[in-house]
Symmetry: C2
Subunit: 159 residues, 2 copies
DNA sequence: CGACCGGACGCAGGATTTTTGCGCGTATTG
DNA sequence: CAATACGCGCAAAAATCCTGCGTCCGGTCG
């Protein structure tokens, strides 16, 4: 978990792996002009250094019966550290909540959530928001169309 | 790209792979009480059916020099379909923009973006927002602390 | 100025994993 | 009740990953 300074090759690898983590070491090696073991060692270092934090499969929400996406802006009654943390924990415990941002300005939290339908979402708001006395108010936006989703950060961008 | 009805095993696999896509087929097979080839065939079907849309590595933004996260709510002047699409395209072309939601209510778009620092973010807002005459106004929220990020959807949740 | 040290590389062999072909059992359909 | 289709497990083949080792480069210290 040390900083470990990334060079241009590391960044290239990060960009490639953020597009497709399934490629073979050989294929990556060819792209960055290195041998397969060298690529593997670099990737391992990036993992151990905490730069790469995981490797996951992307699932189309609609395909598993959760076609609706919501953006919820939540305002809390009091912004005490333990309450902030409490709410964050509760939100994280909800599988339908994909992302949870604690923000300045406009409200206190911004949530991104999935749901099967309106009823499903309403049940979520009840559990997470209505029943929590510390939630002052919240505003829900329904996402239309297929959103641009992603977690990729441009590693080659700067340093 | 057909619906292809998911059974309980498919859903278990999806949940497991959304946590860690790096596991061996053997290990997955043990967990769901199936043989490795059976697991592999299911995963392939899920890919071909469009349920699994990709496999990526997760990168810690701070580690590549992009420690700041922003939530931006954007209002457009006119909500004509081609303008909506135009803005969406412009946003998607910005590597720093991770997510872009077109929503009802509160503004028209919600963006999640990364940046190295305030100047970096300001440059982004200039390119994407100030210079676009179709952007009426926008509100920026800075994300504090480490947000809960993720793209995992609970496959076992419903059907 | 030269020797030492650390770090990263490529190569090659061995271990693991993935992939394919095949035969079997079960469920569905005519 | 027979025929077909689908999915499974097994076992071997193919591909990939992983490790150990020798080498090279760059910085440092005597």
């Amino acid at each position: 978990m040390k900083p470990a300074a990334l060079d241009a090759l590391d960044r290239r690898l990060l960009d490639l792996l953020q597009q497709d983590a399934g490629r073979s070491l050989e294929s990556l090696a060819g792209e960055v002009a290195l041998s397969a073991p060298a690529v593997q060692r670099r990737i391992r270092r990036l993992r151990e250094g905490g730069v790469i934090t995981g490797e996951v499969v992307l699932v189309e929400p609609a395909a598993v019966g959760l076609p609706m996406t919501f953006v919820v802006i939540v305002e809390l009654e009091r912004e005490r550290a333990d309450q902030i943390d409490g709410f964050r924990r509760k939100a994280a415990a909800e599988p339908l909540v994909q992302q949870c941002y604690y923000v300045t300005g406009e409200g206190d939290f911004v949530l991104i959530a999935q749901a099967r339908d309106m009823d499903d979402f309403e049940a979520l708001t009840r559990r997470l928001l209505f029943d929590d006395p510390n939630v002052r108010r919240f505003r829900t936006s329904v996402v239309m169309g297929k959103p641009l989703r992603g977690t990729a950060v441009p590693a080659g961008h700067a340093g």
